[in-house]
Amino acid sequence: MTVTSRLEQVAERVETRRAMLSRLLDPDETTLGALLLAPAAVLLGGVIVYPVCKLLYTSFLDLSLTSGAPARFVGLANFQQMLEDPVFWQATWNTILITLITVPGALVVGLGLALLANLPFNIRWPVRLSLLIPWALPLSFAGLIFAWFFHSEYGVVNDVLNRVGLPGAIWFNSPRLAFAAICLTITWKASSFMAMIILAGLQTIPRSLYEAADVDGAGRVRQFFEITLPLLKPTIVVALIFRTIAALQTFDIPYMMTGGGPGTSTATLAMYIHQNTVSFLDLGYGSALAVVMFILSMCVTAVYLRMISGREGAR
């Protein structure tokens, strides 16, 4: 190789590097977009995509830390086991029931509270604060408080029942009563969250629309159904997405109130996942259960998103 050709090679390499550097320092639109998105993409990949993939992979393994045996690929065996597991069906049914009861319950109560808080009070902060407190309370704390409320001997619920002449109940001995107590607690806790979001939505509805409806002849009830509710729909859908996903993952409140009992009558899917992975250290089966919960959440979100996009399409 002559000195000249060697020099040409070096010059070419320098030119290539300079071009790369200038692309980095003065990137075109696509490169700039990619560069700006990169940190978020890396973060999402690290905290969402990787764990989900790992979860999926683990769900195909026989991986129990108590047996000491090495992980073994078992295909869909964990899912097969799930189909034959009565506790799984019980926990799934409980989770779905809790979602079906507490999400609409919290929506109705939250909507009522938001409408109340939106009234023209002279001093608004006590109303807003009282809405905020249940939401700000940790879930396990709320579970503990309500476990005391429903205590058969010194709970306030039985005390009130006795005062109005009704017999008290041993709430956590009966599967139905224990379930009802849990649903009530979740509804109380979640309705303040719903109320906060709906209140924010209510405040975006211009007052002039109500004034126009007043002039048009619509009374308060008609205004609610013709103006408030339709205009709140996007807000409500967003609140429902958040709330439904949280309800599908219900753990803290039943864990603190009943521990899933009596028996497994109030166990939820999240509690059963926790039991399998943390208590029994059966990571393979626990992961398979978590995959089911993940798919359930995704399906619900997809339905809600379709509702929103359907509405936007209609605009």
Binding site: P206, A213, V215, E226
Partner: protein, 357 residues
């Protein structure tokens, strides 16, 4: 259609009195414009007529009925709001037909009335769109359509053109005037724009600080302003004001300019020596023609507008504006004799600012 009568109408928020016992009679079919600067109480007055604002004192009558305690829906009025207040989730057809539906009209009747109103306003092709798909001018027409579809006794307009650009404002203004001529319903219209007031009104009510400053036809308030405020508010560019003292049958300006008092018509004879006045002269009443009466001035700024030329100059410490013909092009710094028609000069009392002549 119905007359509207306001009697000692009063509105206070706490100790702050927004409307101070105003009296106003609006005849059946009349187009009355409430005009004034921000905070003068014009919108509050309109909202009290609509029933959207409670009244602190006085009485409102629509036709023969006292409506003080009636909710808006029982007053048989329709209102066009500043932000149009169209229901964003309803189509134009549903927006316009809403009041009919609420009042129990049949679907066929509502459809026919909506179609008639839409044809009148040229929005028939927009009936299936939602407000979000309309331009500002189209929304404005829909808001008017919603108001006329029910044929109420009184229309109330709350600054309906303030969100439109100047060109569109002119178009819609003409449309509102046509609409009034076509349906003849009583209209109470609120604006802060004196051009809208002058062009639309049968009568203008000029409000200031919650009080009525003057009521009159556009010609009356333009030609005979009751106060410095009205003179300055009506007309564009606004009326010029400068202080002058009566002395020896003349009005003396601080810079030595003089106008003969005798030229001001009989009323000016009440002026006495030594009394100071605020002299009001409209920019369009100056002339470059050779006249006996006029002012010596030095030109400060010249603004050629194409149709006219605005010339700014100082007299007695006040800056005045003259609207001269387009061919008049004095140069800044040039000494100029600007003539004026002495019959067009207004004199105001310096302390009350009310008109003397």
């Amino acid at each position: 259609m119905a007359s509207v009568s306001l009697c000692k109408l009063d509105k206070s928020y706490g100790s702050y009195r927004v409307v101070k016992g105003i009296d106003l009679e609006i005849a059946d079919g009349e187009f009355v414009v409430l005009v004034g600067p921000s905070g003068c109480g014009k919108s509050t007055t309109l909202r009290m007529i609509a029933g959207l604002e409670s009244i602190t004192g006085g009485e409102i009558r629509i036709g023969e009925r006292v409506v003080n305690a009636l909710p808006p829906r029982e007053r048989d009025i329709a209102m066009v709001f500043q932000d149009y207040a169209l229901y964003p989730h309803k189509t134009v057809r549903e927006n316009m037909g809403f009041s009919l539906k609420v009042r129990g009209a049949s679907a066929e009747e509502a459809e026919a009335k909506v179609a008639a109103a839409a044809n009148m306003l040229g929005i028939a092709h927009l009936l299936d769109r939602r407000p979000g798909q309309l331009s500002g001018g189209q929304r404005q027409r829909v808001a008017m359509g919603r108001a006329i579809v029910r044929r109420p006794q009184v229309f109330l307009f709350d600054e309906p053109l303030s969100n439109l650009d100047a060109k569109l404002r002119g178009e819609v203004r003409a449309e509102i005037k046509r609409l009034h001529r076509a349906i003849g319903t009583t209209i109470v219209y609120v604006t802060h724009d004196q051009v809208e007031a002058m062009t639309l009104a049968d009568r203008i009510v000029i409000l200031r600080g919650g009080d009525i400053e003057q009521i009159g036809t556009p010609d009356e308030v333009y030609n005979n302003p009751a106060s410095v405020f009205v003179g300055g508010f009506v007309g564009s560019p606004s009326m010029n004001f400068a202080k002058a003292k009566a002395a020896g049958g003349l009005l003396d300006f601080a810079d030595g300019n003089r106008l003969p008092l005798a030229a001001l018509g009989g009323c000016a004879m009440s002026a006495v020596d030594g009394r100071e006045f605020i002299v009001g002269i409209r920019p369009e009443h100056f002339t470059t023609a050779a006249t006996d009466t006029g002012l010596n001035c030095v030109v400060e700024v010249v603004e050629p507008l194409g149709s006219d030329t605005l010339v700014h100059f100082s007299i007695g410490g006040s800056t005045l504006t003259a609207r001269l013909p387009p061919q008049a092009r004095p140069t800044p710094g040039e000494a100029l004799w600007i003539g004026l028609d002495p019959r067009k000069i207004h004199l105001f009392d310096t302390s009350t600012e009310r008109v003397v002549h």
